[in-house]
């Protein structure tokens, strides 16, 4: 059976191979008017047998595909023109403008491609983040849910302004604790047991702009450490990473990367071990993008009474993303303290005076 695609969307001479569907049968289904191998995405044999496509779809689909493909071809022509202009222009501001325009056009050219839509709807975990169109879809999904969720948690739990003044999220930050048997992404604000958090977490920073070798700083702080002297609270630094190079392809900060690059860690991981009757401690994870070409050179930093605002200002750090979990005293906390040689924790009075 011949493909419905007659143009640019089946031509991979200048387009990346990641813009195609990896599963051949699925690809064939999207490139034919009907489903030549049946509904591949359905798993059960009986549901495969029962399934019937809507009537009339096989007739209109090739026309719709070809129409959108021809529109995409026009957009690719425009991209070529911009590339020519880019070669001629020397001025940096017009150059960056042209580049932005080009990225936008690259999104427009592929945004209606059925294969891309399929990948971004059903294969978000394995899509190529170097392609602007995939980043466009990822950003859309994140803005629809993830960004709102993290802002709601940060605000209702008063992490802003208790740590930093405010946040304009630009990246999606995901967090998990791979030292445990069960690996799952932590939802912002979850209360985790002291056992779950006893080894360092791993993070994934998903950038939506083009990013090749940006440097990032990660700080994990606890703003709820009791300060008995002043009858108040202070902030403790639990983990500090600096000059972490991340890109669109690889945004993961995990044990493998840290074993290979021990210079990233400037303050080693200290698990949250709240003392009894000090309530739920908010453990905020802040991800900063460093100023372009500027490295953070911090020697030893005091963990206790850590001033995150001052630190960010001194090192010209811009907060781009955040995550948080909560921790509370439990029956295992003393074991974790022992493991880290922290000594027994204090016991506070149950009632406030």
């Amino acid at each position: 059976m011949s493909s419905v695609s007659k143009g640019i969307w089946s031509n991979f001479a200048r387009r990346s191979q990641s813009l195609a569907l990896r599963n051949r049968n699925l690809q064939k289904a999207l490139l034919s008017p009907t489903l030549p191998h049946g509904p591949v995405s359905l798993k059960k044999r009986s549901s495969k047998d029962k399934y019937q496509s809507p009537i009339g779809m096989d007739e209109i689909y090739p026309l719709a595909y070809q129409y959108l493909e021809s529109q995409s071809e026009k957009t690719y022509k425009k991209i070529e023109e911009i590339e020519k202009q880019l070669e001629e222009v020397a001025d940096s501001t017009t150059k960056s403008q042209l580049k932005d325009r080009k990225t936008q056009l690259e999104v427009d050219a592929e945004v209606n491609n059925p294969e891309i839509i399929y990948n971004s709807l059903f294969g978000t975990n394995s899509i190529d983040r170097t392609q602007p169109v995939y980043r466009h879809y990822l950003e859309k999904q994140w803005k629809d849910y993830g960004r709102m969720l993290i802002m709601q948690r940060l605000e209702t739990l008063a992490v802003i302004p208790d740590t930093l003044a405010t946040l304009d999220p630009q990246v999606d930050v995901r967090l998990k604790f791979p030292g445990n048997n069960i690996e799952r992404w932590i939802e912002p604000g979850d209360i985790l047991s002291s056992n779950a958090t006893c080894r360092p977490p791993s993070l994934e920073v998903i950038e939506f702009k083009e990013s090749k070798n940006d440097l990032y700083t990660v700080l994990i702080v606890d703003p709820d450490t009791p300060d008995v002297e002043n009858d108040s609270f202070s902030t403790t630094l639990h983990w500090g990473l600096k000059n972490v190079a991340l890109s669109n392809e690889d945004g993961v900060i995990d044990a493998k990367k840290l074993v290979g690059n021990p210079e990233y860690e400037f303050v080693s991981y200290l698990p949250p071990t709240p003392e009894k009757n000090t309530g739920n401690h908010r453990i905020a994870v802040w991800v900063f993008r460093q100023a372009e070409g500027k490295k953070v050179d911090e020697g030893a930093v005091e963990r206790g009474s850590f001033d995150i605002r001052k630190f960010a200002e001194e090192n010209e750090l811009t907060a781009v993303g955040a995550h948080l979990w909560r921790s509370v005293w439990d029956r295992n906390t003393e074991n974790v303290r022992k493991m880290y040689g922290l000594g027994r924790g204090r016991i506070f009075s149950r009632d406030r005076n």
Binding site: D49, P54, I55, G56, I60, L63, A64
Partner: protein, 274 residues
């Protein structure tokens, strides 16, 4: 400036240029007689939408339209093709049917209506109950491609072109005196050319566009001695255009493009409808 000088010069002419440099041209159109052709894309899209709608439609409430036990109900029931019901212990390879009120809920419902055949010849106009057969959208003129006919290309707008001074163009007339409006000059000129048996409806007295000629060539800017041709729009309502010794054609937009001077088409193309 020009305007002031125009007022000052001649009492007979109120204009800045002599009246013999002003002409008026008539875009006479025949509006479509049948509905436009639906493109392939549209037709298939409408079909797809219709099928989806039918699939999602509620079951036809037969009991509301046909009283139980009546002849009409029996006749209706008889001609329906009911889907296969489910049986216990029987394997249905295409899935178990789910019947409710005689309709398989998984698919669209096909309601067959009694096809009452009318008697007689459809051309027999005396017979009131003759069967209805629609006339063809393609006429004799379409088959012979008679470009002088008004019955050609029924779904399209046709425009009248005449051959004046060896060139195909919209009929153009000289304005002789500025006491008669441009459209009136054009209308009367048309009747002088093609006879009195024509009914037209002039859209407006305001010109739709202007074309400027200098020494017979179309120019963009007005120089000295430029001839101006104002285009007026009008529709033919009834009658016909029968000139003596003058070639004329009724053409659709893309045919106009093929016949007239490209420069001329550039000036008038956007006034014509697809």
């Amino acid at each position: 400036m020009l305007h002031l000088r125009g007022l000052a010069t001649a009492a007979s002419s109120n204009g800045s240029i002599p009246i013999n440099l002003i002409r008026t041209s008539l875009i006479l159109s025949r509006i479509p007689i049948v509905t436009p052709e639906v493109s392939e894309f549209d037709a298939k899209f409408y079909n797809y939408q219709e099928e989806l709608e039918k699939r999602l439609m509620w079951t036809f409430p037969k009991w509301f339209y046909f009283k139980k036990g009546t002849v009409a109900e029996k006749e209706f029931t008889k001609i329906q093709k009911y889907p296969i019901p489910a049986h216990r212990g029987v394997w249905f390879p295409k899935g178990v049917p789910e019947l409710k009120h005689g309709r398989d809920r998984r698919f669209k419902q096909e309601v067959t209506l009694a096809n009452k055949v009318s008697e007689g010849d459809s051309q027999d106009l005396e017979n009131v109950s003759r069967p209805i057969t629609p006339n063809s959208r393609i006429t004799e003129a379409d088959k012979t491609n008679d470009e002088t006919s008004l019955e050609r290309k029924l779904p399209r707008t046709l425009y009248l072109l005449v051959k004046q001074d060896g060139k195909w163009k919209f009929p153009t007339f000289q304005v002789k005196d500025d006491q008669v409006a441009l459209n009136e000059v054009a209308e009367s000129g048309l009747r002088e050319l093609g006879g009195d048996k024509i009914n037209t409806w002039s859209v407006s007295g305001t010109p739709a566009a202007v074309i400027k000629y200098s020494n017979g060539e179309i120019v963009d800017e007005g120089h000295e001695g430029v001839v101006r041709e104002y285009l007026m729009k009008s529709h033919i309502v009834a009658g016909q255009f029968v000139p003596e010794g003058l070639e004329y054609k009724w053409l659709a937009k893309e045919e106009v493009e093929g016949v007239v001077d490209p420069k001329y088409y550039e000036k008038v193309g956007y006034l014509l409808s697809n």
